[in-house]
């Protein structure tokens, strides 16, 4: 309740401070549009904003799902195949450290302005935190518990599903706090680099047209999406890790 109240207070304080700055300093709307003006854009362009938001959200969610599938598959593979992680790590580090704007440019040249490059960018940005946390979580399993299960002649799958996976869940959920919100930012950046739709495209369009009010409107929508993603992860955490609060 207290946390909710603090959040609401911050949520109201930002536009209030913004309005005060506008009243006191009276900047040109091209530099700092008043909140009412941005609210007007949000309302009058709601259909267009919703459409572009849907595009961005689709790219983020699909890319995020793919990243999860790959990260989960790799983490399980590393857990079951001794030495696999050691072999794969240098390649993963290389892949992680290639600057993604250059990857994006190559992808656009090769694949054209399609969904593929945007999804790949989202996957590249979100995949590593998920894999790293999941991997760490699986390794955090109590070795005594694994020994206990081995003396019961548990299969590797039983050790994974009944001991390692539950141990990794707090780490996996923590990864989502970074990766899920990151997927939305990644989708916007991908669109910002190359797209004809989406919030990233709107940002480019608004900048070239000096539409600061629309830029602010898109920023508010994008922030709202990221906060929604964060809240969803929080809900999942409260449900999955409810035993921690018992």
């Amino acid at each position: 309740m207290k946390a909710g109240f603090s959040f609401l207070l911050v949520l109201l304080a930002v536009p209030a401070l913004w309005q005060i700055i506008v009243w006191v300093f009276e900047p040109k709307p091209a530099f700092l549009p008043p909140p009412a003006m941005v609210a007007g854009v949000l309302w009058s362009e709601r259909t267009s904003l919703l459409g572009h938001t849907f595009t961005t959200l689709s790219e983020a969610v699909i890319g995020y799902a793919i990243a999860n599938a790959i990260a989960f598959g790799l983490a399980v593979f590393f857990f079951h195949v001794r030495g696999a992680e050691r072999v794969a790590t240098p390649w993963l580090v290389v892949l992680k450290n290639v600057p993604f704007p250059t990857v994006a440019s190559i992808l656009v040249v090769v694949m054209g302005d399609s969904l593929g490059p945007k999804l790949i960018i989202v996957v590249l940005v979100t995949f590593f935190p998920i894999l790293a946390n999941l991997n760490k979580g699986l390794k955090s399993v109590d070795p005594g518990l694994v020994d206990r299960m081995r003396t019961l002649h548990a299969t590797r799958w039983q050790i994974f599903s009944k001991a390692a996976w539950p141990a990794s869940l707090p780490y996996y959920i923590a990864a989502h706090e970074i990766a899920f919100t990151g997927s939305i930012i990644a989708a916007i950046v991908a669109e910002w680099l190359f797209a004809q739709r989406g919030l990233g495209f709107l940002i480019v369009q608004a900048s070239t047209q000096f539409r600061t009010d629309r830029l602010f409107a898109v920023t508010i929508v994008a922030s709202g999406l990221a906060m929604l993603a964060y809240a969803l992860v929080g809900l999942a955490e409260r449900h999955v890790l409810r035993w921690q609060r018992a």
């Binding site: 109590d142 005594g144 518990l145 020994d147 206990r148 299960m149 081995r150 003396t151 019961l152 002649h153 548990a154 039983q158 009944k162 001991a163 539950p166 141990a167 869940l169 890790l241 035993w243 921690q244 018992a246």
Partner: protein, 250 residues
């Protein structure tokens, strides 16, 4: 029955954890492995549990290789630190054993919890239980499938003296009912004396059996108000302390 014949265990780097160890544990017998750190008692227990293999020599548990005994669910193990799944309740942790081992004649987990005085805590998660309660759940996890052999690696080692004494008495009464073969690794002379039929004294560098002491039946009752028991235990403690270097006995 457990047989350890001429067993040695060498680790990489040249450490000899066990050197030509011989030991036989009869069915229904309670044997304690007592000795200072580094004498190889936990290594020996891991060999019996099938968690490690001997560098040389033969280990059999109920006439089978330890790993085969594990396959048949004949072994239950409880370590010093409770090996519980944090996201499972006490009851679910005990059920975990039965999800892996399917043996006819297993105890009902709820009934076992009742016998262990934990019925009211069946739906508590490990972090909600005291250290002593966690250890009781840990032992219940090792016992629930009714294994012929129970291996205990300092199960009360992390507890305070009072709780430890009370749990030792509790374990004695539990095992009197189940009648299992038990091998206990311990640092505590009192624990070994009040629980065991025989005590295997081990010495380190390399780990070897130094001597085997038979505990008089009177000592195992653990009735500290009986002067005869106290006298027996004191005499046995003297023997044990004399056999082990003073600074190494807990």
């Amino acid at each position: 029955m457990i047989t350890v014949s001429q067993v040695s265990k060498h680790f990489s780097g040249g450490t000899v954890a066990l050197d030509t160890v011989d030991l036989t544990v009869a069915q229904g017998e309670f044997v304690s492995l007592l000795g200072p750190s580094g004498c190889g008692k936990s290594t020996l227990l891991r060999l019996l549990a099938g968690l490690d293999t001997a560098s040389s020599g033969i280990v059999t548990v109920g006439g089978l290789a330890p790993i085969e005994a594990c396959r048949r669910g004949a072994i239950g193990v409880a370590f010093q630190r409770p090996a519980l799944v944090p996201s499972r309740t006490a009851l679910e942790n005990i059920q975990l054993t039965l999800e892996i081992v399917h043996r006819p004649g297993s105890f009902a987990p709820e009934e076992l919890l009742r016998q262990f005085g934990l019925a009211a805590f069946r739906n508590h998660y490990p972090h909600q239980l005291s250290g002593g309660m966690q250890l009781r759940v840990n032992i219940a996890c090792a016992l629930v499938h009714r294994p012929e052999i129970l291996l205990l690696d300092e199960p009360f080692g992390a507890l305070d003296e009072m709780t430890r004494e009370s749990l030792t008495g509790w374990l004695r009464s539990v095992l009197a009912e189940t009648g299992q073969t038990v091998v206990l690794v311990t640092h505590s002379v009192e624990e070994a004396v009040t629980l065991s039929h025989r005590i295997v004294l081990m010495r380190p560098h390399p780990g070897r059996v130094q001597s085997i002491v038979t505990v008089p039946a009177a000592a195992r009752t653990g009735d500290w108000t009986n002067p005869a028991v106290v006298s027996e235990v004191t005499s046995l403690r003297r023997q044990l302390h004399a056999a082990l270097p003073a600074e190494t006995v807990a």
